[in-house]
């Protein structure tokens, strides 16, 4: 029997192009669930066709025949006015220019009014004339972006309710990192109009971090979510203090957040986005590739992607090809074999049937991969860091599933830094949202949710430099170990255990403020062979070292044969440091030092 006290939890990843939902299963683990159509990636699309409304993946095929009544890409319009948004729609329903809130107008058929119920239900002839069968009348319906969002979210909510058997009571919904308070409020309003009890509108990057349990070594290892770097021990151990990049590449845009993790608290060091760089780029590449192939095979000109003034036939061909290419793209990222693409009657009644393999695709997509890498480098640089200082890259968004992209990113990082996709990148945000909802549902009884969330409205005090320890008497310029990451939110505390050399009577530890530096060593390239024209460049090896900066203090304690010592360092708000050092098992005899 299921424990009744477990709250019913729902995490919603509401993307621009796709949404996904996750719930907490009976074991208390988050799980991404499929809607009633069996889709885990639910397209954010709504299509009006006569009396019917299609929501989700079922609405996408309508782009071909009924694009004018198909609404897509409405999330980013939330909280904006008509003038603030880009309103070129080539295939989908156009935005109405008349209203300030972005809104759409679609053709619908209004069902006829119900004939009044007859009182007498006998089979005998009534004498009255049989009323004529009433036809639905054509009409127009205007929907604002928040209304569309409400409609869409309510279907997600229904899917989750059907899965759970009850209505979820605790929901967290994701919003892109660049959503401001206004847009978040608008999203919350739309969700609440759909009957969803929203605990929090959570930043996508934060959802990914929560989903991966970054900075929580035990939990992360237990769930098998560690990354697999080329070198080093990051595959076995999760550090409590690290610098992480969350790279979210969705269908339409790329967003990168640089985050300092300190014992499971996440501080934003920098973030950026590119709203032109997304999975759509890959679509366009494949689209062009296949169109060229089509032209070559059939001698029929097909110029895609179309401009706004292209003939209707070309537009329809593009829509058809786009739907087919999506499948090709998915199979490319899933399997290493060749992925096929087949469209019947693409243009002028001619079919397309072809395939592309991963190697070919990687060479096609290389410029996009490079662009992504360049973006990443730029954003990390803007945050005042070097790529070598990044300890891990977490991937989110279905477009990061390409192995080509993952290996490309891994090349940019230090060999010890993994590019992690241990949770399916297309589900990780929903999973993170569900986990966050679970955490929030277990909130202390003395706390108000609004108070807790309001704490993050103001910027928190953070360490401006890392703090590390050194062994007294050593002349080295490098610190022995790092305790606090730069950017740790204050107050913060670390507890470490250290070994002690046998027979020592007394040990001491120095506390230093560190300076992180990137040391670049050039390894000269092997002398070029005669038959090669190009001269190979010297290889650069970047190494991050933590140098001694300012000396903070020194503590010592008697050990008397103990095998190890433990140390606790607390940095309070305002920069007050409290240090305690004690021999294992003798916490009451700790030496304390306050700075």
């Amino acid at each position: 029997m299921r424990n009744r006290s477990i709250p019913h939890i729902l995490g919603i990843n509401f993307g621009q192009s796709f949404a996904s939902i996750a719930v907490i299963d009976k074991e208390g683990h988050p799980e991404c669930i499929a809607n009633e159509e069996g889709e885990r990636q639910i397209a954010c699309a709504i299509s009006y066709s006569g009396e019917q409304v299609y929501i989700g993946n079922g609405a996408k095929p309508f782009l071909v025949k009924n694009g004018k009544n198909t609404i897509m890409g409405f999330r980013n319009l939330l909280g904006h006015t008509y003038d603030e948004v880009d309103h070129t729609a080539i295939l989908t329903a156009p935005l109405l220019s008349s209203s300030t809130t972005p809104s759409y107008e679609v053709d619908i058929l209004v069902p006829p009014p119900k004939a009044p119920e007859k009182g007498n239900r006998s089979a005998a002839a009534s004498g009255a004339a049989t009323p004529a069968v009433q036809e639905p009348t054509a009409g127009k319906k205007t929907l604002t972006a928040p209304e569309v969002t409400t409609l869409f979210l309510s279907t997600l909510f229904t899917s989750a309710s059907d899965y759970l058997g009850v209505k979820p009571t605790h929901c967290v919904i994701s919003a892109p990192t660049w959503f401001g308070p206004e847009q978040q409020a608008e999203l919350r309003k739309a969700a609440e109009a759909a009957g969803i009890h929203v605990l929090q509108v959570l930043d996508e990057a934060a959802a990914v971090l929560v989903g991966y349990r970054v900075g929580m070594p035990e939990e992360r290892k237990e769930r098998g979510l560690l990354g697999q770097p080329e070198e080093g021990d990051a595959g076995e151990v999760e550090k409590t203090d690290k610098k992480v990049v969350v790279l979210d590449m969705g269908e339409t845009s790329l967003s990168v957040s640089v985050v300092a993790v300190s014992n499971g608290e996440y501080t934003v060091l920098g973030k950026g986005r590119d709203d032109k760089l997304g999975g759509r780029e890959f679509d366009n590449l494949l689209l062009k590739h296949f169109a060229k192939e089509f032209t070559k095979k059939t001698k029929t000109a097909l110029d895609v992607p179309c401009s706004e003034s292209a003939p209707a036939g070309d537009k329809r061909a593009e829509a058809k090809l786009r739907l087919a290419v999506e499948h090709t793209k998915r199979s490319l990222s899933a399997s290493s074999g060749a992925a096929t693409c087949a469209v019947e009657s693409l243009k002028d009644g001619l079919d397309l049937s072809t395939s592309v393999n991963r190697l070919r695709f990687d060479s096609l997509a290389a410029p996009v991969f490079r662009q992504v890498g360049e973006r990443l480098r730029q954003i990390v640089k803007d945050a005042g860091l070097d790529l070598a200082q990044i300890d891990e890259v977490l991937l989110a968004g279905a477009s990061t599933l390409f192995p080509g992209l993952q290996s490309n990113l891994a090349l940019l990082l230090a060999p010890t830094a993994p590019v992690t996709a241990a949770i399916d990148p297309s589900q990780v945000i929903a999973i993170g949202c569900a986990l966050q909802a679970l955490h929030l549902s277990k909130l202390d009884k003395d706390l108000q949710l609004s108070d807790v969330l309001a704490l993050a409205d103001r910027d928190a005090e953070t360490l401006s430099a890392p703090i590390g320890i050194a062994i007294p008497g050593e002349k080295s310029e490098v610190l022995a170990a790092k305790l606090f990451e730069q950017g740790s939110a204050l107050p913060s505390r670390r507890r470490v255990a250290l070994g002690v050399v046998g027979g020592a009577e007394k040990v001491g530890v120095e506390l230093w403020e560190g300076k992180e530096e990137v040391k670049i060593t050039r390894v000269p390239a092997p002398p070029a062979e005669d038959d090669e024209d190009e001269e190979e460049e010297d290889e650069e090896i970047k190494e991050v070292v933590l140098n001694k900066g300012k000396f903070l203090g020194y503590v010592e304690t008697e050990v008397k044969g103990a095998k190890g010592v433990q140390m606790e360092v607390i940095v309070q708000k305002g920069g007050k440091v409290e240090v305690r050092l004690w021999a294992e098992g003798k916490e009451e005899d700790a030496t304390t030092l306050t700075m």
Partner: protein, 458 residues
């Protein structure tokens, strides 16, 4: 909670003569946005909002965890139900034939004879386990007996009681529950509620709608009592009588025989259900009929009505002191209201008089109008004497006269009539009418044509 990280470092013994370098404070902290996400943020928020230090928070969290762990071990643990299922079985129970399971008392077999329909799923689980531990055939084998009859009974009882549908069927016909109802007519009024409340609490176990409103005390309000009877008159019961079904002969291959038995069972079930419904309805009827609370409420209502009707007179009749006081209050209020109403009442009489005068004037109005009309007719409708007035002209004059009389107050019409008669037919009358129309000012705009025409010859 603090996570302890083991660093791959070994501290050497402190070098002799070591002196620490001069220390300086920490660099000034910077500020950055933090994500309100993850358990660590929540614990940090807890410390900040409740103003706890790390050590204090650790202590409280540890205590909390300990408490939770204790509770978790209790739930599903057997310590929670001491003595459950450990009722001693009497010989008759032990000697039951497992084949006669339809007749056995499943609750007694599991040692839940005192809980019965109140036993929860957890109770049944725990009791079953305890019984099995004691009566498992493996235990009996040691003592040489090979009788597993009671063990089979236990298994059957567990099987029946853990299946919700079967359990309901058994509960529906549970004979061990007393179902006698005292005659409501013979219960003294003082003990009425105390006697009948358990009866209804017992019947309430069949309700599909839970919770069931209680019988209430002697001094329950009208709303409570009505709610109670409303509920019981609309009682939706899950009680069913499948348990009494006759078994279809297992080895009988005769289809007709089987169908016949099924049909009989069905009709029997319906009959019993009907009987049960009637029984309950009659019970509620008789309880309602004899309920002293209903009598009390009726009396109170009557008193209230009387008080309303007679004002002060009813106050003396009030049955209780509280009622009396209420009546008096009411009376006082009424008197206050009367006083407040006294002043408008005076003007009311005046209004009456005015109304009468108006009525009289309206009656006379017709007379006056006729006299004016006669004068107009006598003046040949203000036309030259030779021309006979056309029907339209006459009509126009009459309409205008009507309008004029409507616009004027009755007294003014009287005045007009006197003046017109005094002026006599012809020019004089016309001048009088015209003057009156002009006197109306704006009200008369556009309504009068004939009367405002210049007099003849002017």
């Amino acid at each position: 909670m603090a996570t302890l990280t083991t660093l791959p470092l070994t501290l050497p013994a402190l070098p002799s003569g070591y002196s620490a370098p001069s220390s300086s404070g920490l660099s000034k902290p910077s500020s950055a946005h933090t994500y309100p996400a993850g358990p660590s943020f929540l614990s940090s928020a807890r410390r900040q909002l409740l103003q706890r230090s790390f050590a204090e928070d650790d202590k409280l969290v540890l205590a909390q965890r300990k408490k939770e762990a204790e509770e978790a071990s209790k739930v599903g643990g057997e310590e929670q139900y001491p003595g459950l299922g450990e009722e001693e079985e009497d010989k008759a129970t032990l000697a039951q034939d497992p084949k006669e399971w339809k007749k056995q008392d499943h609750y007694a077999v599991l040692g839940l004879g005192n809980l019965r329909y109140k036993a929860t799923d957890d109770h049944i689980k725990v009791a079953h386990r305890r019984k099995v531990l004691r009566h498992h055939p493996d235990k009996k084998a040691a003592s040489g007996s090979n009788d597993d009859g009671f063990f089979k009974c236990i298994q059957k009882a567990h099987e029946t009681l853990t299946n919700p549908e079967r359990r309901r069927q058994f509960d529906s016909v549970d004979e061990a529950i007393e179902d006698s109802v005292p005659n409501p007519a013979s219960i003294p009024a003082g003990k009425y509620c105390a006697t009948l409340a358990p009866v209804f609490a017992r019947e309430a176990r069949f309700s599909k709608v839970q919770p069931v409103p209680g019988f209430g005390g002697e001094d329950a309000s009208k709303k409570e009592v009505e709610g109670f009877y409303d509920f019981w008159y609309n009682f939706d019961s899950w009680r069913s009588f499948e348990w009494h079904d006759k078994e279809v002969d297992e080895d009988s291959t005769n289809r007709d025989n089987k169908r016949f038995t099924e049909k009989k069972n069905k009709s029997e079930r319906t009959r019993r259900k009907k009987e049960d419904n009637t029984r309950l309805r009659e019970l509620v009827d008789s309880v309602l009929a004899n309920d002293p609370r209903i009598k009390r409420i009726k009396a109170e209502e009557k008193a209230a009505r009387d008080a309303k009707k007679k004002g002060g007179a009813a106050a003396a009749k009030g049955p209780s002191a509280a009622d009396k006081k209420a009546e008096e209050d009411k009376k006082a209020k009424e008197e206050a209201a009367k006083k407040a109403a006294a002043t408008p009442e005076l003007s009311k009489a005046e209004k009456e008089a005015q109304k009468k005068a108006k009525e009289a004037a309206r009656k006379n109005l017709k007379k006056w109008k006729k006299s004016i009309q006669a004068v107009i007719a006598a003046s040949n409708y203000f036309l030259p004497a030779i021309t006979a007035p056309s029907a339209a002209q006459i009509d126009a004059h009459l309409t205008e006269l009507d309008t004029l009389c409507d616009l004027l107050e009755p007294e003014e019409v009287k005045d007009l009539k006197e003046k017109v008669e005094a002026a006599g037919p012809g020019e004089g009358a016309k001048t009088e009418l015209k003057a009156r129309v002009v006197g109306l000012g704006q009200k008369a705009d556009g309504k009068f044509v004939e009367f405002t025409k210049d007099p003849l010859g002017a």
